[in-house]
Amino acid sequence: MPITINGQSVAVPTDPRVSLLDLLREHLHLSGTKKGCNQGACGACTVLADGERILSCLALAVQFEGRSVLSIEGITDDGALHPLQQAFIEHDGYQCGYCTPGQICSAIGMASEIERGVPSAVTADLASDSIDLTHEELRERMSGNLCRCGAHNGIVDAISETYASRTGASRPAVAEIAE
C-alpha cells in the first residue's frame, strides 16, 4: 500500500531508514518542509499526517504506509495562499523564513486540536471541552516550533488573527483544510 502525499500516491521506500522528511525532500523534491535540527527539537519539519501535526524528521516513512500526509506544498489544492500564509505576510511572521512551513503546518494542526477540545498545559479547567485560543494557549501550543530570528510576535499575531476568532461555536475551514 502506498503513502498518499499531498493527494498523490507514493511508494513506500524500500530502505526503512528513510525518514518521512527525507522522503519528502530528497526523493520527492518537495523542499518546502525544512530540516532544522533533525532530532525533534525545532519543529521546522512539521507536516500533517491524517490531519495531525507530527515531526517528519523523527518519523520513519515506512510507518506511514496507507496514511495521508500533507506538507506545506499541499495545504491548499488550488495553488492559492492559505489564509494563514496570507496572515504571515501581513503580520511579518518571519525573517529568514526557514521555520515558516513548519510553523504554518503546526498552526493548522493546532487549530484542529483546539476544535477537538484537546487541552494544553495552560488549560485551567481540564473538565471543559471548549477551549478558547487565548494568547497564553497559543504560545504554549506552538512551543514546539522555534524561530531563531525571533519573529515569534508576528507569528503569534498571524495565527491569532486566523484562528482566534474561530473559537466557540463556529470555526470553519480548519478541518477540511487538514483533511
Partner: protein, 333 residues
C-alpha cells in the same frame, strides 16, 4: 543509522515472536528510538512496529481504566475519563514535549524511553549506561540536570518522563507479554535504580512487550495534579517535578496521599516516606514541609545541582498546598 529490518506486528503474539529475536526492538512513535538510532547509540538489527496493536482507553465496570500501549499521548491526555478522574496524568502528559511529539509518542514508548543525560548521547564521553564498564563522565562533569536520590557510583542519570511520574503516583499496573507468557508489574517496580547495572533501565525480560497499563479505581485521584519546574516555560525536560493526589477528611487531616517526583532519580521517585509521614496528620503547610524534608533527607546533590533538594521540597509543599485549596466542585464527576 545502521541498516535494520522492519516489520509491522499484526497482533501481540506475532510481536512477541519477532521481538524475542536477538537484536530486535519494539517501535512506537519513534520520537526517542529513531533519534538514538540516528546517533548510533541504539543499533537494533530489527524493528517490530507495535503501533497497530491495542490503543484503546476504556473505563471498566470495576472502576479501573485500561490504556493500551499504542495509545498516543495526545489521546490519553485528552480523554474525558483521564481528565476528570486522573487530572495528574493529563497534566503530566501535557507538560511533556510538544504538540507534534505528543501526537506521535505512545504510552509504551514513553515508559521505555531512555535518559536525556547529555553524556549518554555523546559517544565521545564515557557512559556506563551506553557502554557498561566504561565509566561515567557526568559524575564529575556538568551534572546540573542529574540525580539527587538513589544514584550510584556508576550512574547519576535521571528518567526523563513526565507521564511516568504521574503513573507512579497513581499506582498504575503495567501489563506485559513475553515468550514465557503474560504478567503484571506494579508501576513502581518497572523502572530500576542504577546500582552497578545502569545499562538496564527496567525489570523487563528480553523480548517482553508492554501491552498496556491499568489505572486503579482511586476516587481521590480526582484531586490530583502535576507541577513541573524547568528552565523555560514550555518544551523542556524537568529539573524537578511533582505528581500528587490528596484525600483530606472532614476534620482536616490527611486520609490518604500519593506523591511521586520526577527529575531527581534514575526512575520516577515514589515518595513513600513523605506519604507515610503525612497520613493522619493535619493537612497544613507545616505537615507538608515536614514530609518533604523527610523525603529529601537522604538527597545527595552533585557539584552543579545543589539547588535540587530545596527545589523538590518547595515544589512538594506548593503542590500539596494547592491541592488542599482545590474546591470540591472541581472534583465532582
Amino acid at each position: 543509522m545502521t541498516p535494520f529490518d522492519y516489520a509491522r506486528a499484526g497482533d501481540t503474539a506475532a510481536a512477541v515472536r519477532m521481538g524475542s529475536v536477538a537484536g530486535a526492538r519494539y517501535l512506537g512513535g519513534g520520537t526517542n528510538l529513531v533519534d538514538l538510532m540516528r546517533e548510533n547509540i541504539e543499533q537494533p538489527a530489527s524493528l517490530v512496529d507495535v503501533t497497530g496493536l491495542g490503543s484503546a482507553i476504556e473505563e471498566r465496570a470495576d472502576g479501573t481504566v485500561w490504556i493500551g500501549a499504542a495509545a498516543r499521548n495526545t489521546a490519553i491526555a485528552g480523554h474525558a475519563a483521564i481528565r476528570r478522574r486522573y487530572p495528574a496524568l493529563s497534566r503530566a502528559i501535557l507538560a511533556g514535549a510538544s504538540g507534534q511529539i505528543r501526537n506521535m509518542a505512545t504510552l509504551g514508548g514513553n515508559l521505555l524511553q531512555r535518559t536525556r543525560c547529555t553524556y549518554f548521547y555523546d559517544d565521545a564521553a564515557r557512559c556506563n549506561k551506553r557502554e557498561p564498564g566504561s565509566g561515567c563522565d557526568a559524575i564529575d562533569g556538568f551534572n546540573r540536570i542529574h540525580a539527587i536520590l538513589g544514584a550510584s557510583v556508576a550512574c547519576v542519570a535521571t528518567h526523563p518522563s513526565d507521564m511516568c511520574v504521574a503513573l507512579a503516583a497513581l499506582d498504575a499496573v503495567v501489563h506485559l507479554e513475553g515468550s514465557a507468557g503474560a504478567r503484571t508489574l506494579p508501576f513502581d517496580a518497572l523502572h530500576r535504580l542504577p546500582g552497578g547495572r545502569p545499562d538496564r533501565d527496567t525489570e523487563l525480560q528480553p523480548g517482553e512487550l508492554v501491552t498496556g497499563i491499568e489505572l486503579p479505581s482511586l476516587a481521590f485521584a480526582a484531586r490530583s495534579t502535576y507541577r513541573k519546574v524547568r528552565d523555560r516555560s514550555s518544551y523542556a525536560f524537568a529539573l524537578v517535578s511533582v505528581a500528587a493526589a490528596l484525600d483530606v477528611g472532614g476534620d482536616g487531616t490527611v486520609r490518604d496521599v500519593r506523591i511521586a517526583l520526577g527529575g531527581v532519580a534514575h526512575k520516577p521517585w515514589r515518595a513513600h516516606i513523605a506519604e507515610q509521614s503525612l497520613r493522619g496528620q493535619p493537612a497544613t503547610e507545616a505537615s507538608f514541609r515536614a514530609a518533604a524534608a523527610a523525603e529529601l533527607a537522604d538527597a545527595a546533590p552533585l557539584t552543579h545541582n545543589a539547588f535540587k533538594p530545596e527545589l523538590a521540597r518547595r515544589t512538594i509543599v506548593a503542590v500539596l498546598s494547592g491541592l488542599t485549596e482545590t474546591p470540591m466542585k472541581e472534583m465532582a464527576p
